[in-house]
């Protein structure tokens, strides 16, 4: 027989000022199975909690209803108190008399009556609560970092340095990401490669890090602490153990006219190539799409010249399966390209380039060895226009957000230009200058004041070519509000930062959510910016939204700590408020009929198929089975299940039904 204790809290006067707490306690005390119904000024205080603990023992309570504030506030408090009093914490419910009653109604009888209804409802519910045990799942202490840019590198190193194993997956032939393409970095103008390369090498040499480049995630199954990840190692057409990285093959390859991705298409590379001199690993791969042998069936010059006979034309893709405990997604971003800006003439006029292309032009290792030469004729531009917010903050273009990094790198670009072309004129069209960050605004001011970059507040409507010049038509909204026309030799568009290609597919493989721009979604915009809604998967860097290097690195370190915290436990405990499929003895085994429509509604792929078999392996019946590690307890499957074969701990059919009845009927 149920023995329920009810504790009505006054919350100082927060509740008792409008609700007659004495009457509530008295009325509830008359309910069947309520053996104790009492009131107290502050239930959450130490004496209040002690009251509960003692009552549990004294009255041998089987259920507790604390009638106080919102369970979103103090449910953990009182569940803990019950546990300390010797009662299973899940046999405690809260009746929300404050936020949902005393604070929102006037003092009168109706309010007290409502309070009684609310408490009665919880009493009827708690009678049907079951004692639940936290769910324990083991943890595989190996992390996977997807993406080898600066965020991924930082996360991998931080995790590896805590002593845990890390697998890093990078889809291009080298790690380094966009940072390796940059010339110099704001706000210090130190060389990007110089600070990045040591980190890249550290990754390659770290005993706890296994690096797979030219590899992509094929599938992810499982749950926090227990992921099974399949990785496709694309064929490099190379025996990496034999290759010394001498690079002879790359110089002899006859196919040399392939736009170089690392140079943002501003240079060419051969079909067998090392993406850039500092690449890690410093080994070539054959780009099978462009390789003459794969296209025409003959050539094999690289094989002939290779001194160690390392070329393997028949190498297949390899799928490896890894057991992983936590995943850090650090897949970075891309920038909006080409035909997105027809009015800016990108793609039509050679001398209109994007920010990353300018980085390569300005880079000492770039196609022009760091001399700012315009692509069309190699002339040094005398008059250069930078357009910030090319696409960003433009709802009409479908990108309403600020790409965050453009203001700063545009200032840097203008500065670099002025440092290299002293007599040149640099103009920047901008909407606002967003230079929040340590030493950021000073940096922009330096561009304006010391380097005399001409900042024009206004947008550019169109760019077209006339008399060999690029006519940039815009408006100056600060001085005259009149149209401005600049005859430029070159234009640099700070195009919007967008989600990397394949982000959506990867998110679907990881079962994490993503926003309408395909950026990965954090679990909470403020309080859980590193977590995703899928437990055990964390975010680092610009895959979440455009970020600069310090932000990416900070978040990467944050995600590393999350992983390390997870790996500090041998097993995980989770709230047991999960769904469960009923089971019974043969011949029924369960009332589940195995339609598996629940699999379709589950946002977490937490519903598995379980085959009931005879001893000789014949399948008698297939049932749905909830994976407790994955289930988050939303209950959508419960409401969908036609035969009511699934139920949800904490919100069971019996409980919610009893709540409806209790709320509307007097007892």
């Amino acid at each position: 027989m149920a023995r329920i204790g009810v504790f009505v809290c006054h919350c100082g006067e927060n509740i008792s000022a409008t609700v007659d707490c004495g009457k509530v306690a008295e009325t509830i005390g008359k309910l069947k199975h309520v053996v104790l119904s009492t009131e107290y000024k502050y239930m959450c205080s130490d004496p209040g909690q002690t009251l509960i603990k003692e009552a549990i023992k004294e009255h041998n309570l089987t259920g507790v209803v604390v009638s106080a504030c919102s369970p979103r506030m103090h449910e953990p408090t009182f569940r803990k108190a019950c546990a300390e009093g010797g009662l299973n914490p899940y046999l405690c419910e809260m009746a929300n008399l404050r936020e949902h009653c005393s604070w929102v109604h006037e003092k009168n009888e109706l309010t007290t009556e409502k309070a009684i209804d609310i408490v009665r409802t919880q009493v009827e519910k708690v009678k049907l609560n079951s004692a639940l045990q936290p769910i324990k799942v083991p943890v595989t202490k190996t992390a996977m970092v997807i993406g080898g840019g600066i965020a991924g590198i930082q996360a991998a190193l931080d995790i590896a340095n805590t002593g845990h194993k890390v697998v890093m997956i990078e889809r291009s032939p080298s790690i380094g990401g966009h940072m390796s393409q940059l010339s110099e970095t704001f706000p210090t103008l130190d060389c990007s490669q110089c600070i990045l390369t040591p980190r890249m090498v550290e990754v390659a040499q770290h005993p706890n890090i296994t690096l797979y480049t030219y590899a992509e995630v094929e599938s992810v199954e499982g749950f926090i602490g227990n992921f099974t990840v399949k990785v496709r190692k694309k064929a490099k057409s190379l025996d990496e153990k034999l290759c010394t990285g001498c690079g002879l093959c790359t110089t002899k390859c006859p196919q040399k006219k392939i736009p170089n991705e690392f140079e943002q298409g501003m240079g060419m590379r051969p079909a067998i190539y090392i993406p850039f001199p500092q690449a890690v690993p410093n080994r070539p791969v054959i780009d099978r799409e462009h390789c003459t042998y794969y296209i025409k069936g003959k050539c094999k010059i690289c094989e002939i010249v290779c001194p160690t006979k390392a070329i393997r034309f028949d190498q297949p893709d390899e799928i490896i399966e890894l057991q992983i405990g936590a995943i850090v997604a650090a897949t970075g971003f891309d920038i909006k390209h080409a035909d997105f800006f027809p009015e800016y003439g990108y793609g039509r006029y050679k001398d209109i380039i994007d920010g990353l292309q300018f980085e390569r032009l300005a880079s000492a290792s770039g196609p022009t060895s760091g001399v700012i030469k315009r692509p069309s004729d190699g002339q040094i531009p005398k008059n250069i226009v930078f357009i910030a917010c090319a696409g960003s903050r433009d709802p009409a273009k479908g990108i309403a957000y600020c790409s965050k990094i453009c203001c700063m790198y545009t200032a840097k670009h203008a500065m670099l230009y002025k440092h290299k072309v002293h007599e040149g004129k640099a103009h920047v069209f901008y909407m606002d200058i967003r230079s929040g960050g340590k030493n950021y605004d000073e940096f922009v001011r330096r561009a304006i004041e010391e380097d005399h970059v001409n900042y024009i507040r206004g947008r550019v409507s169109t760019i077209y070519e006339r008399n060999g010049k690029l006519i940039v038509k815009g408006v100056d909204t600060l001085l005259s509000s009149m149209p401005v026309e600049i005859e430029a030799d070159m234009v640099v568009l700070a195009t919007a930062g967008v989600a990397n290609s394949g982000a959506e597919e990867l998110a679907q493989k990881l079962h994490i959510s993503y926003d309408s721009h395909k950026f990965f979604a954090e679990a909470h915009p403020k309080l859980k910016p590193v977590e995703t809604n899928t437990a055990g998967i964390f975010l680092a860097g610009a895959c979440q939204n455009p970020k600069d290097i310090p932000d990416s690195v900070s978040q990467a370190s944050g995600s590393a700590v999350k992983v390390a915290a997870l790996f500090s436990q041998n097993e995980l405990t989770r709230e047991p408020l999960v769904a469960v499929v009923n089971r019974m003895g043969p011949p029924l085994h369960s009332t589940c009929v195995g339609c598996f429509l629940c699999q379709a509604v589950c946002p977490y792929q937490a519903i598995e198929r379980e085959d009931i078999k005879t001893r000789d392996g014949k399948v008698l019946k297939s049932l749905a089975k909830i994976n407790e590690g994955l289930c988050q307890g939303c209950g959508t499957c419960v409401a969908l299940c036609r035969s009511k074969s699934i139920d949800l701990h904490g919100y069971s059919n019996n409980q919610v039904y009893a709540e409806v009845v209790a709320l509307l009927n007097e007892y």
Binding site: L31, K32, V34, G585, P587, H589, N665, E666, Y667
Partner: protein, 336 residues
């Protein structure tokens, strides 16, 4: 027993109907818009049908309602109290125009409900019912009353039996004291019987129920059941329309402090009918349930209740969505 027979003209029949309606609830068949024949309380005489072969449902609900309250209860913190149903408040009912097959079912139901202990609900209700039966002048392929020991003009179960004359008048046969009292209270409505013979439907005998009963003694494991019930979809239509099926379920329904216990119709055709809490089901496939239905009516009841559990009305066959024709199966069983 020699019974009184009188002639009653059609217009007098109407007067009788009105007179009975004044002091009783009269339960009479009408043809609904969708061609279904259903019984209603006190329909206008003009709506009452005299030509139906069978109503969609039997009239067993007069004595065995779809839902019957057994008692109501209320709980407080410390005690529970029970209030019985006051059966004395039941109204008098005249069942008008029901056919001999349906009327014969009352005795069979009594043999079930009052087999060992008297089911008060059933017998109190039956006590209040006066049956003015109507002999069949039409029949169809589903009818097989003659195979179950009944006849289209059997007086079993009727207090008065009306038989139609070709001109539209009726012969009234007074069978019981209840019936005779109606004659006594309204002698002016009746005339003496003439030579004319009533029109009675012809229902051919399809099988010998004695022979069926005998065959069933050894037929429990016969493959017949599976072969002939594959198409049965396991609904309860046959049992719910049946005038003699008497299985029920008992439930408590509580709302707040108060609640009630009631019984409602159940069916042996349902898979859950015999499902144990353990998950074991002694009749776990449909063929076993179908076998149960026939066995119960043609073997177990003759054995235990000394009467067949079937009156040959043919309702179960006509209601079946997949044409599980009971007389066809019984015919076949007789010859296995």
């Amino acid at each position: 027993m020699e019974t009184t027979r009188k002639l009653i003209r059609k217009h007098s029949l109407e007067l009788l109907y009105k007179k009975l309606s004044a002091s009783n609830k009269v339960y009479a068949p009408v043809t609904a818009t969708d061609k279904q024949v259903e019984y209603k309380y006190n329909p206008p005489f003009s709506d009452v049908t005299f030509d139906h072969i069978r109503s969609t449902l039997s009239v067993k609900n007069l004595v065995f309602p779809k839902v019957e309250n057994l008692f109501i209860f209320s709980n407080s913190k410390t005690e529970s109290s029970i209030t019985d149903v006051n059966l004395n408040l039941l109204p008098n009912v005249v069942l008008w125009g029901s056919h001999p097959c349906d009327n014969a079912a009352f005795d069979i139901l009594r043999s079930i409900f009052c087999w060992d202990i008297n089911d008060e609900f059933f017998s109190k209700r039956l006590e209040k019912v006066t049956v003015i039966g109507l002999a069949c002048h039409t029949s169809d392929d589903y009818c097989f009353c003659t195979s179950t020991g009944n006849a289209p003009n059997s007086v079993k179960g009727s207090d008065i039996l009306l038989s139609k004359l070709s001109g539209g008048d009726y012969i009234a046969e007074f069978i019981t004291a209840k019936g005779s009292s109606i004659l006594a209270s309204s002698p002016e409505l009746f005339e003496n019987e003439t030579e004319e013979k009533a029109v009675i439907a012809v229902v051919n005998t399809k099988f010998s129920h004695e022979q069926v009963t005998e065959k069933l003694q050894t037929a429990f494991e016969h493959p017949f059941w599976v072969e002939n019930s594959l198409r049965c979809i396991g609904c309860g239509a046959c049992t719910y329309v049946c005038p003699t099926c008497a299985c029920f379920d008992i439930q408590d329904e509580t709302k707040g402090k108060e609640g009630r216990r009631y019984r409602s119709w159940d069916s042996c055709g349902f898979g859950l009918f015999t499902l144990h809490t353990s998950g074991h089901n002694p009749r776990h496939v449909q063929s076993q349930r179908w076998r149960q239905r026939i066995m119960h009516k043609f073997s177990y009841m003759p054995d235990r209740n000394e009467s067949l559990g079937c009156v040959g009305c043919g309702r179960c066959s006509s209601a079946c969505p997949v044409d599980m024709n009971i007389s066809e199966q019984l015919e076949a069983l007789q010859n296995i």
